[in-house]
Symmetry: C3
């Protein structure tokens, strides 16, 4: 069994942001020289997500509005977590909706994707440095 | 390390549908002859899900109503994604709630399941051909 | 490829509860003597979750309130699943929000975690014995 581990870094300009990281993950898979296996991609922080969906700006704007409907940022004092001095309780909820990680099959040396699948980093409490872990195992 | 990759196809009659695919996944695990490992099952499309829950018709009806409460299909023009000519923005949200994939342990040649665990394909924008990937790795 | 499988047991005093299981998972990883691989941790029951987030009491109280807003326990007769004699339909929904499983990278013999990542068992229909599966594969 072979394995490869890499870490990606992000520091977004806005609180909420979606970044397509498919190319970066594909590059790591290629460099791993693993042809059959699994690729784990996960946020290493608890107010951000890694998820797979469509690279379409309208959808991302819908996601942003929808997540604020399900878990509003305001009022800050609505959340007990924010009594600790934080203001990001909503981001901990948004991350649970969108998920922490994806596991992708590697077949014949490539991410085994359907026609529209793209991997995104989802940031819900940005403007600071965060990391994503990519781990490939297989043969 | 051994591996096996298969693709399942679905074309549902209604927009929203849940299909129990446990038997199909078990068959692939059996054919893989892998006794200890992991089995990844994921939707290859971004308006459908693979998830594990109960095979109970009342619950599925509850899920259907609940998902429409969290992410209503109507009004279509509420979603910016639908400005592209699509009418399935809600399906992209429902899929995030229910998840893209499951990873199941294989122990002694079988899906290592609790008493009620069953694997479902969840369709939120059906009436077209969609695929599910099953990848087994291990020894 | 090596592998190790263990089962953790829980019987909570209240219906809804969050239990930090990071130490128990770390111990299993250590005993597996696997230095590079993946660790799957999943609920074996369909009204509970395994998820990764912050070990902060205020946040857990927020999660509890938020999940009851998204999927209220009452009124029981609102859910068709509860026509079967159960009263836990809401728990099946809460579990979908929080997720069934996490997959964690093992690097240099340890759970490869960001600064605040902790693994939790999330119970939504407690006061009975439930199990969590931990499966480590790698080398």
């Amino acid at each position: 069994m072979k394995s490869k581990t890499e870490y990606l870094k992000f520091n977004t300009e806005s609180r909420l942001e979606f970044i397509n990281i498919t190319d970066q993950v594909e590059k790591i898979v290629r460099e791993s020289e693993i042809t059959e296996g699994l690729c784990l991609v996960n946020a290493m922080h608890i107010t951000s997500s890694v998820f797979i969906n469509d690279d379409e700006a309208g959808l991302h704007s819908d996601y942003s509005r929808w997540l604020d409907f399900l878990a509003p940022h305001q009022p800050i004092n609505k959340y007990r977590h924010n009594d600790t001095g934080e203001d990001n309780a909503d981001a901990h909820m948004k991350r649970q909706i969108m998920g922490r990680e994806v596991v992708v099959a590697i077949t014949k040396g490539k991410l085994d994707f359907g026609p529209w699948e793209q991997i995104f980093y989802g940031e819900f409490d940005g403007k600071r440095t965060k990391r994503v872990l990519v781990k490939v195992i297989g043969e």
